[in-house]
């Protein structure tokens, strides 16, 4: 201990002696003694001694001569003892005053030595006892300090008041400790006034034990626990004895505990997770509202369930949980299912730890219902998978369609050649059938590719002004032939309030109408197909139009009409097979709905069907630069047309084939060939052309880059030229990728001559 070592190192002895000879003698004896490190502090008067003691200097013992310049006889001892009752005082008496020594010990001195009669050994023995006693007292003081316990005695008769250091520390006024007396206790501002009340109470009851709050001089409060008794001393005077313990820290932690308990209670009650305390037998000791919600039982029902573990499953998982918990003392995020009262399975995560108190062994647990979370995760996974497979399907379809087009084109091309030869009528008819079937197959490939890209949200709808009347006229012109072949009368009616110029996706509208009208003609052998367009509403600057296609065909039975717009639904008739993929109406539905419209059908079997859809269009003022006639037949440039065409293509054989094909068709064509994009740019610096056929993949500079440069850097007569992409990749065309690079249209390679002729005619005629 610190105090111990301090004593060993410097055992100070206060020698209160006015006779230098006697003082010197004590010092000599001390040096001769076996006491180590004893330092003597000599004071001549009692007053000096008291000052030394009051300054707080520690002395293991006081050697006190009773006859001093300022105090004589027994009073000297009494005065010192009154001030310092705990001190070890060894009284030095004259030879004749031996009686005085005995009296002194009786009064509270520790020992006495007769001057001239004691030797080194006696002094040493007496001092050693003092030193040991001081150590014990020190330890006691230390213990009191550690326990924050102080004690006091009060003698009302004399007004004497003694107390330990810790007592004064508790009251926060160690400085005043030596000035406390009965009067002081009565003073209003003295913190010790509290003691008076206690003494008064003890006066009545004999003893008091209470917790109280005291106020220190600084204004700080301490919580204390006080015990006080009263007894009578040998002179029948009252002595109050008390102990006081500082319990402020304990109080604070109690208050903290209460606060923490309150906070815990809030968390406990308001938590969305089930929180509960449970025995290992599965009995709930305490649980919150969320527990009630998760399990679905009422609070009362849960309290009555003897083994809540039975609500967990699978059984092995529950056993695993308990084993793991017991082995590891805690379990984190353990996945398990519980049976909700409704019978529904709830997926949960348990985090638990063992808790042991005096009267309880079990575990506390946080149980989180993750059913919805898991469902969302599964749905996300399923969605990802679906997207992935849709993407793969799309890729697959795109590549299949690409692979199919080439041989189909060959079949078609060769059928064309065959038909131009001199064939017997039967052969001619067989070839015609081959050609028809091939065209149907090509249509199927296109449909599949189309539905795939629509369903994958790949279709971007345009919003450009167009002439609705023109579109409808073109539609009837084309469809008229088919209708006439079948003795079907095709009629179109447009309500007068339908605006002629509207803004929207012309191609897609055309596609839907072709499909519906085509179907109507296909399934009608006699009678009519009527197209009727009406305006439903004006919506600001937009207009909602309804398109109706009515036929007198075979009709659709009531049970089939629901499914008619689903993928691969086909009209099956015993007596007849209608060609098609069953994709057409599904494509229409997707196209209409993705533009925010609705499509529907009504039908009476055997009498006819009516298909209708509505779409919203912005109204347009007209079409810029449109000098076109509303009615236009499919146009092909005459054989003697003169125009300039630039073919940009690196493949020599393709160059040759294209040149031959085009020159055969149009003898007066002025055709120039550039081997790559850069060569094309060089030619364009000096020349102008009516149309450019641009291969995409070429060395030096590809078709995309060349087009971009032409569009961006050349003078208007060349920057605005018609440029057609030539590509062997179906996706370049389907995704409209060529448009991103500023090309007007595309031709698929290996090209089909008619397709090439049509595309060129379509654009060159407008020049």
């Amino acid at each position: 201990m610190v105090s111990n070592s301090t004593l060993v190192s410097t055992n100070k002895v206060l020698l209160v002696e006015d006779n230098p000879g006697d003082a010197r003698l004590v010092e000599i004896y001390l040096m001769e003694s076996d006491l180590q490190n004893c330092e003597v502090v000599n004071k001549i008067t009692l007053a000096d001694a008291i000052v030394a003691l009051e300054t707080g200097e520690e002395f293991a013992a006081i050697l006190l001569d009773l006859t001093l310049p300022d105090s004589r006889g027994f009073e000297t001892l009494e005065r010192l003892l009154a001030k310092f009752p705990q001190k070890n005082i060894i009284v030095l008496t004259g030879f004749s005053d031996k009686e005085m020594g005995l009296r002194a010990v009786k009064a509270g001195a520790q020992d006495f030595l007769v001057k001239g009669a004691f030797d080194s050994e006696q002094l040493s023995k007496s001092l050693r006892f003092s030193i040991e006693r001081t150590k014990v007292l020190k330890r006691l003081e230390e213990t009191q300090r550690l326990a924050s316990i102080g004690n006091w005695e009060y003698f009302p008769e004399t007004g004497d008041f003694t107390a330990t250091d810790e007592f004064f520390r508790i009251f926060g006024n160690t400085d005043e400790r030596h000035q406390i007396d009965g009067e002081k206790l009565e003073e209003g501002d003295c913190p010790l006034k509290a003691l008076k009340d206690i003494h008064d109470a003890v006066g009545i009851t004999g003893s008091v034990k209470q917790d109280m709050k005291i106020r220190q001089k600084t204004g700080a409060y301490r919580f204390v626990s006080v015990k006080c008794n009263v007894r009578q001393d040998e002179n029948n005077n009252l002595v109050y004895q008390g102990i006081i313990q500082d319990i402020t820290d304990r109080k604070h932690s109690e208050q903290e505990a209460v606060k923490s308990q309150e906070r815990y209670q809030v968390v406990f009650t308001q938590s969305k997770d089930a929180l509960f305390i449970c025995t290992f037998d599965g009995k709930f000791i305490d649980f919150n509202q969320a527990t009630v919600d998760v399990f679905g039982y009422t609070r009362e029902e849960l309290e009555e369930i003897k083994d809540t573990h039975k609500l967990y499953y699978p059984q092995e998982r529950k056993n695993e949980f308990l084993l793991k918990l017991k082995a590891q003392k805690a379990v984190k995020d353990f996945e398990i299912s519980i049976a909700h009262k409704s019978g529904e399975a709830r997926e949960c995560m348990m985090t638990a730890s063992i808790t042991v108190t005096d009267d309880f062994v079990g575990y506390n647990c946080i149980l989180r219902d993750v059913t919805e979370l898991r469902q969302a995760e599964r749905m996300r996974k399923a969605r990802d998978l679906a997207q992935q497979s849709a993407h793969m399907k799309e890729q697959f379809l795109a590549s299949i369609s690409h692979e199919m087009r080439t041989p189909m084109n060959a079949i078609l091309g060769m059928s064309n050649i065959l038909m131009q030869m001199n064939l017997a009528p039967e052969q001619q008819s067989l070839v015609q059938n081959i050609k028809n079937s091939s065209e149907i197959l090509l249509g199927v490939v296109s449909d599949i590719l189309e539905i795939s890209s629509i369903q994958n949200g790949k279709v971007v709808f345009e919003n450009l002004p167009f002439d609705l009347t023109e579109l409808l006229n073109n539609l009837t012109n084309v469809m008229q032939y088919k209708a006439q072949e079948k003795d079907v009368y095709l009629q179109i009616n447009i309500a007068p309030d339908v605006p002629r110029f509207i803004s929207g996706d012309k191609l897609r509208l055309n596609q839907v109408l072709y499909n519906l009208v085509g179907n109507a003609i296909k399934f009608t052998d006699h009678g009519h197909v009527k197209i009727f367009i009406e305006k439903l509403y004006d919506i600001g600057a937009s207009v909602q139009l309804k398109f109706n296609v009515e036929d007198t065909g075979i009709g659709i039975s009531e049970d089939k009409i629901e499914a008619i717009f689903e993928t691969f639904t086909r009209i099956l008739r015993k007596d007849r097979v209608y060609e098609g993929t069953g994709l057409g109406l599904s494509i229409c539905k997707n196209l209409v709905e993705q533009q925010g419209g609705k499509i529907g059908a009504s039908s009476v079997e055997g009498q006819g069907s009516k298909f209708f859809f509505d779409l919203i269009f912005e109204m347009a003022d007209g079409i810029e630069g449109s000098g076109k006639q509303p009615q236009e037949p499919v146009f092909e440039l005459p054989a003697d047309a003169k125009f300039r065409l630039l073919l940009v293509e690196d493949h020599k054989m393709n160059q040759l084939v294209a040149r031959k094909t085009l020159e055969r068709k149009w003898a007066n064509i002025d055709l120039t060939i550039a081997d790559d994009g850069q060569a094309a740019l060089d030619l364009l610096k000096e020349n102008t052309y009516d149309i450019v056929l641009m291969d995409i993949q070429m060395p030096v500079m590809d078709g995309y880059e060349a087009t971009k440069i032409i569009r961006e850097t050349f003078p208007p007569d060349r920057a605005n030229m018609i440029i057609l992409a030539m590509t062997a990749h179906a996706h370049v065309a389907k995704d409209g990728k060529y448009k991103e690079y500023g090309m007007d249209d595309f031709v698929l390679k290996p090209f089909e001559p008619d397709d090439l002729f049509q595309k060129i005619s379509k654009y060159v005629k407008h020049l």
Binding site: H651, L656, V657, P750
Partner: protein, 117 residues
């Protein structure tokens, strides 16, 4: 109308595109005889140098050439070669595909020469 093992080539598409014009057919045959070995040489070189990007381009060009030849083995091998070099998947198969192309080349050239008048 597939190329048989005895003919190795199928010139239907070539004839279609040449509009059965003999002179044109002969020109195209001459071009094939010139371009096929040249393109094959490039493909082999690029494959050895593992220059996949350039190989994709040459293979793409070769696709147009092979369309006129009509040899399925070569067409398919070349198509696959273009795909794997473009997407860099199963790239280790490239040399064997080039071998397939090479293996077919002599017979194809022989067959083409027989068509030359």
């Amino acid at each position: 109308m597939q190329a048989t093992s005895t003919t190795h080539i199928n010139l239907d598409y070539l004839r279609l595109m040449a509009d059965n014009d003999d002179e044109m057919i002969q020109t195209m045959l001459a071009m094939l005889l010139e371009e096929l070995p040249e393109e094959m040489g490039k493909i082999q070189e690029l494959c050895q140098a593992e220059n996949w990007d350039e190989l994709t381009r040459v293979s793409h060009k070769m696709k147009s050439t092979l369309a006129f030849v009509g040899n399925d083995d070569m067409t398919n091998a070349n198509k696959e070669l273009e795909r794997i070099t473009k997407y860099k998947t199963d790239i280790q198969l490239a040399p064997s595909l080039v071998d397939t192309l090479n293996a077919n080349l002599p017979q194809v050239l022989e067959a083409l020469k027989r068509e030359v008048k």
